[in-house]
Symmetry: C3
């Protein structure tokens, strides 16, 4: 398996966002020296450089960029060069106020922070295109150029704009999607509440309204908004491709916040990049991070780039905890274990002013005599030894299906319960898989599932019949499935699958659901097994399924809660509630056993994460999330990649310690 990063940089991509324009040039030589001593191999340059290169419209001054790129080249450091379009200079809104985005209630979002542009506006696009053209032309052949970094964190702050320009673009998008107004009326069920459109020209964004908006309109607006940003990306990519047909192009995705649909974006990126900011104050933060890494890797089924993480604390939470001693290293290896071929930070030198002056950096306000610099530089040295790992990936026997549209749809109103949040539901299932120590891909329902032994579907609320049929066929052909409640309910236009819940999955699951019985916040329902459920219960009528567990109190006492159905050559387990962690572990554990899925490594203590990368060798990552040392059994003939030592039958991991073992 080849490695894009190794091919371009000759080793691990290690570095940070580098914003030298914030500092006098006298600092730059220090920067180079410190970068070298920290093992930096690549930096992201110019992400917020627009105003510094185009101080007034159309008048470009690339002098400082030239000098930075030249210095990088001279020091053998690659540049992930930004297209600088993420934050327009103040003059753009001053001259073209219509470029500013609007909230659903009409509020104009002014300059003064970042991302203050309506993605559908032609003026922004023209100015951005002209800038990208200039950059692409100028640096196409620069020796420092390693990669293109388009824009930055698309949709992070303005995932949707509700202005009139966006409204017009939305109508055009709808015309493309539906053809004519009759098809739109049908898809959106507009007969309800007298919403039938006589003409597409009447359609508006889902702006502030008297009460619940049309759910199909809301969902399509999220799709449109993601696509509007994607158009911006593709416009830039096309310019870059023309100038540099072989330089890879990426943009950095942000979190699982359902801003843009990364599953629809990923095919357009040469390499997937991700900004990861786990909260040290969150107890399960490393499991949540693992979930996202398994999603990012699965987008291409290839290594990905951790394009941003914090050396220590961030600045944007209400209470920003630093990473404790050892956590930054441990968590970096976690990303590498799960497929990252780059470890990059935001940012190189901590800003003196501006909104992120309290975000940690490789070189803090206190300079290199600080813990942050020491720990990052030490990691840089270590990563230099991981070159052989580059390009390898993770072979997962389990897929967790998480559908972007369903997650968006569940953000809507007027559902049986407001307590269904896709991220939380996904995580409640993923945690059991993580604790079971098995490798997981987080995938869309439309991928080829046949390679997985077990497929877990936490909540596939919105699903078209053809996609649902793939899941049915997967089980019929011998697959093992675990599916939770409120799946198969509506199609992609939020129209209910008629004939009884859960629509296209009734036969597969061997049951019907007469009615949903959501639990209020904090409400629980006892289970026969001794466990308890939260969030949800429902009136299940088995039609072939065996009952694994029953509700033990409340209005549904004695009725089925968890079932299993042999279907075709496979088996489908169904959960009609969100079981407590132990019950979930039990249900998932039995499904893993039935599917023949085993942990990456047996006999591992609690709190130790084990991941294997392979494809070009076998690399076992042992990550001790405990604060105290533990002993972990090892396969024969393992070699410690960082020390070169041959390892025995077991190895001691220090508190927050890491071992990367090469297996034979």
């Amino acid at each position: 398996m080849s490695s894009l990063v190794r091919d371009r940089l000759g080793g691990f991509a290690f570095g940070a966002d580098y914003n030298p324009e914030q500092w006098p040039e006298s600092v730059w030589d220090d920067d180079m020296a410190l970068m070298k001593s920290a093992g930096v191999t690549m930096v992201s340059v110019g992400i917020f450089g627009w105003a510094a290169v185009e101080a007034t419209p159309g008048s470009y001054d690339f002098g400082w960029v030239d000098r930075v790129m030249d210095r990088l080249a001279a020091n053998g450091i690659g540049a992930c060069l930004a297209t600088m379009t993420a934050s327009p200079p103040p003059w753009l809104a001053h001259r073209h106020p219509e470029t500013l985005p609007r909230r659903a209630d009409g509020t104009v979002l002014s300059p003064g922070s970042r991302q203050h542009f309506c993605p559908s506006g032609p003026v922004y696009r023209e100015h951005a295109a002209r800038l990208v053209e200039a950059i692409a032309t100028r640096y196409a052949d620069h020796p420092a150029l390693a990669m293109w970094h388009i824009n930055n964190e698309y949709g992070c702050h303005v995932p949707e704009c509700f202005c009139d320009v966006s409204a017009a673009a939305f109508r055009s998008w709808l015309a493309d999607r539906y053809g004519d107004v009759d098809a739109l009326n049908d898809a959106w069920s507009t007969t309800f509440w007298s919403q039938r459109y006589a003409d597409l020209a009447e359609v508006l964004p889902p702006r502030a309204a008297p009460t619940f908006l049309n759910p199909a309109q809301v969902l399509d607006y999220k799709r449109f908004s993601s696509d509007a940003l994607l158009e911006c990306f593709l416009m830039e990519k096309e310019i870059l491709r023309r100038a540099t047909p072989t330089v890879p192009v990426t943009t950095n995705f942000v979190g699982a916040w359902h801003r843009i649909d990364v599953t629809s974006w990923a095919p357009h990126l040469d390499v997937v990049s991700y900004d990861s900011y786990p909260d040290p104050n969150e107890p399960d933060t490393v499991i949540q991070a693992a979930f996202m890494y398994d999603r990012m890797r699965a987008l291409h089924g290839k290594p990905w780039l951790l394009l941003e993480q914090a050396p220590s604390a961030v600045n944007w939470r209400a209470h920003n905890a630093p990473k404790a001693v050892g956590e930054m290293r441990l968590w970096s290896y976690q990303a590498v274990a799960r497929g990252a071929d780059a470890i990059m930070y935001f940012q190189w030198r901590q800003s003196r002013g501006g909104a992120e002056r309290f975000h940690s950096a490789m070189v803090p306000h206190g300079g290199p005599e600080t813990r942050a610099y020491a720990e990052t530089a030490a990691l840089g040295a270590e990563l230099g030894r991981l070159g052989p790992v580059l390009g390898s990936t993770v072979d997962a026997p389990v897929a967790l299906v998480s559908d972007w549209s369903s997650g968006w749809a569940l953000q809507g109103n007027a559902l049986p319960s407001a307590g269904l949040v896709q991220e939380e539901t996904d995580f409640a299932h993923y945690r059991s898989l993580w604790k079971a120590g098995v490798a997981v891909d987080v995938v869309s329902p439309s991928v080829d599932l046949s390679r997985y032994r077990l497929v877990v579907v936490p909540n596939l609320y919105a699903v078209d019949l053809d996609v649902a049929e793939r899941l049915v066929e997967y089980v019929r052909a011998g697959g093992h499935l675990v599916m939770s409640f409120f799946s198969g309910i509506v199609d992609s236009a939020e129209r209910v699958h008629l004939g009884g819940y859960p629509g296209p999955f009734r036969e597969l699951l061997g049951l019907g659901v007469d009615e949903f019985w959501p639990l209020p916040p904090g409400g629980t329902v006892a289970l026969d097994s001794g466990g308890a459920g939260t969030h949800w219960s429902e009136w299940i009528t088995p039609a072939g399924a065996d009952v694994l567990d029953r509700f033990a109190d409340g209005e549904l006492a004695g009725m089925p809660a968890i079932t299993r159905h042999a279907f075709g050559d496979g088996v489908a387990t169904y959960l009609g509630t969100r079981p407590d962690e132990a019950t979930m572990a039990d249900v998932v554990g039995r499904a893993l056993t039935a599917a023949g899925v085993t942990p990456v490594l047996e006999g591992v203590p609690d709190g130790v994460e084990v991941v294997e990368r392979g494809g070009n060798g076998r690399w076992l990552f042992l990550l001790n999330h405990n604060k105290t040392a533990v002993t972990v059994p090892l396969p024969a003939d393992a070699v410690d990649v960082l020390t070169g030592d041959v390892l025995g039958a077991e190895v001691e991991l220090a508190g927050r310690g890491v071992v990367v073992a090469r297996l034979s």
Copy 2:
């Protein structure tokens, strides 16, 4: 007593909102068959039909309505035909954006949900009038036409509009109310904070402002807004009346949310209708429902129509619990017991799409093979036997006075306590009456009180002197009164009655209040009796009143908390705090005894509600809200109306069971 419903339908009105335009016509014949088998006698048609009959402005297509009406007639089902004005088609706002309502902060409320019209706007009114005219003309003589249903749930989502059109209408309303600007200045106390108007043209709605708005302006705006919607109603009613002088006209009121003043609207309806959505998750939900039913019945002192309820769950709460087995039947009988001559659902067939697709219906997504269909159809069959009950009403010896303007005024700011919510206060008093098993009318202070033995006034904050005098005269003439704190404080323009609190009630109550001493949230004050008060305490100086209970701790320890005053030929009890439930029950119980009020039925177990309808016979409703069976004593010679059995000295009620007994 005649019955409007029996006269028109020949029996109980039982049915649902029927929105066939959401379905292919192929479904309609199934609908008819299912309706017949469910005992449906009336359906509400076309409530959101505007866009489906007037797809483009002025071009009406009533074909589908004709076919629906004809089918209904052919099947002997009455139509409560809607005027279709509740939700304008998108083309209205597209062509006339000024028809959209605005919030107090200026936010425009866009189409995409429903009720997106400013009620004061001439454009909306013209289009609505033209539509109503067309409907009235076309269906005046249709054999299915049973009743007119004007608009829908007036003010549910947009009780007030703050646009410039509304501002102008407000000024006109003020000119009618006050005559000139001097009278307005006087009523609104505008000398305060330099708010004196030089001209009515300067007056604005109570829009977003730097701090607390003029309370009289705020209160008058609520009155104006209710009247603006009433004008819309009356405009439609006038058109319908001209076309069909004898067809009754109604509109469905929604909840106790103080949106429109139902007490001022009621005289304009031929029959009062109400949409009832008790929350199964609320412990006291049946008592809250009873309160509203007693209010609806008392509006006309006649039977009313339960025009909407859910067969099971709703969709618009954060967590929507279904009605448990038996609850829908039990709660329906509760409405009938308290005067309903119709039991209707929202809606007939559960929508496939749109914002209410998860609202339960008589025919759910799963079709007729569902609990919801089975339970509603069974109820339909039963109600067919209740024909003789129709037209009877409830003879209540107790009145609970709840004033709409006072409730609105308490929603204002800068009061002694933000914790005074009219609904909660009313309910705290009503609950004791409900648990005492006595019949209650919930009335305005302006009704004739002389027919009641006991009058309970939970919180009559805003009261003009002439209205206050009626209460004084009621007691002087021998009436019994229970009044709670913060009554008699201001007049209808929010001007304090000077000379000491509680203004016009000091002599009646035999006391003065030197100062209010509201308790913070969660704060309590002990009482000598061993009970405790919440929400409020105050410095009471008796002037003739006897002290029933005293504050036992805090700054007011030793001072009077609850008093009783013999006044004229009657007695007035006063509560200077909100006592706990047991103390409230004791105070109310003593007042009931003194007034000679007895329960409808003695010896009834807890959780069993007993109501008698009479006038044309005597009908005793026994409603067991417990989940387990209980035994209830019965008067002699009672006959079970549903079974025809002669009942003995006692009857067993199943858990959530109902008996309707005809008394001799």
Copy 3:
């Protein structure tokens, strides 16, 4: 020491806001009689009189003001005459809608309450100037005129306006402050996030934006907004000064809410005035009040005026508790003890209507036969005996440094912790000083500190190097300092002091801080001493400082938490966390001892506040905040000022009792 109040009124200023225009003139003679019998010597007149004197633009009618002023003069009552500009009449916004202020999201704030003017607008200013000119001219020589009261509670509701007029004024203010756009770009660190301005014309207020705004922009907008209001004040003052060169001018400050910067305003007032509204429901309300009084007194180092307080309850909190029997008197003496030469109320006669009708007054709705009138009149009589105290002040050996800009800056976003609120931090430190019974001045960091024995710096986040150097020099010269965490971090433009935290204080404190470790809400960290810290911890590296206490758990276990450093001839104590109250008392107590600061009076029971005023005699105020009596030791030869009795070696203070003792 002379006394402005005694010189003008011949005795204590005692009275209230007097708004006779709200009442028929028939009430006015009653008012005069009641004022005389209550000992009133001064009233604030006409604060909301604009609409009543200028009913239509330009047409003044001062008749009623004349009659009020004449009556006051005839009764020997002074007038603190308002300029009436606090609340423009409705006609101003009606004719000039651009005078209305806007929120950051663009919402227009309409008339209907008060303070609905953009302070930067020329139209408001012109109308205000014309009115003030008319008032100044008319009453310059009126015998009742004692003082000028400009506007009212500047910035209370609209501290910042974001309209386009304000935007232009902001740009002009920036041009004055920075000269050119390059200096602005440098100060605001605009290279970050591509915010560099090409021209000052591009700068906007910090309006609603996609994410965190530029912190320097936000902070400067607060400064500008305070200055915009100050310009209004100065414009009025200049008119008044011309008409009456010797009549003192004041305006009433409101609370510690960081609306306007009172430290920059104070030099422009002839006498500092303050509106004090402690919440009787707050446990530490008297300590919070003391803090503000010590700030107000320290602004001029002279007596100040309590221009508003409530006789009992206010109306604007969610739950408005009255002052219990004795509290109003006790709290009034607290203000006098801490330097007030006036005790005034809002208001004289409780309004019948308007938003403050439930705010207590000297003459309540119930008239003079009420507790409020009785207690205030009794106080009026007592204060008549305090004439000799007037003009004296408090000699404080301790300074608490509270910087307005730092407090503003901490209201920003994207800080290490959102839990740092200047008021709370200041209070946590002040409380220990209050409980230690020592006298404190609350001062800006720029005052001369050399006169203080101990300087306490709770959180001086934003400090320029020259100001920081004053603190360093203070200690070097022998001063004692207590400083808490997150001080010395940024300069006045929110730019971090580079080279390691806490920037300019590292040498002084003998330590460095590697990283901040804020605690989440409710989070605590144990200390070696047995105490605990909240809010914050940090990684401290001593460089000369001794460690007084260490963190005992968490990631920083074993590292320093509290240190002490001998520096020059002084000592600097540093707290790296917010210790619990006992630990804070211990740290502060040790610093007081080291600095040689002793309590005003030794041997005082808990809950008894002792303050000495001096300069023209010695006056000892003993304030018993307990509900029960206590005995307090006294110096020899003390005389009870209120009774004339010679006091012995100790005196008994009744519950909530007060003794004012003249010392020899």
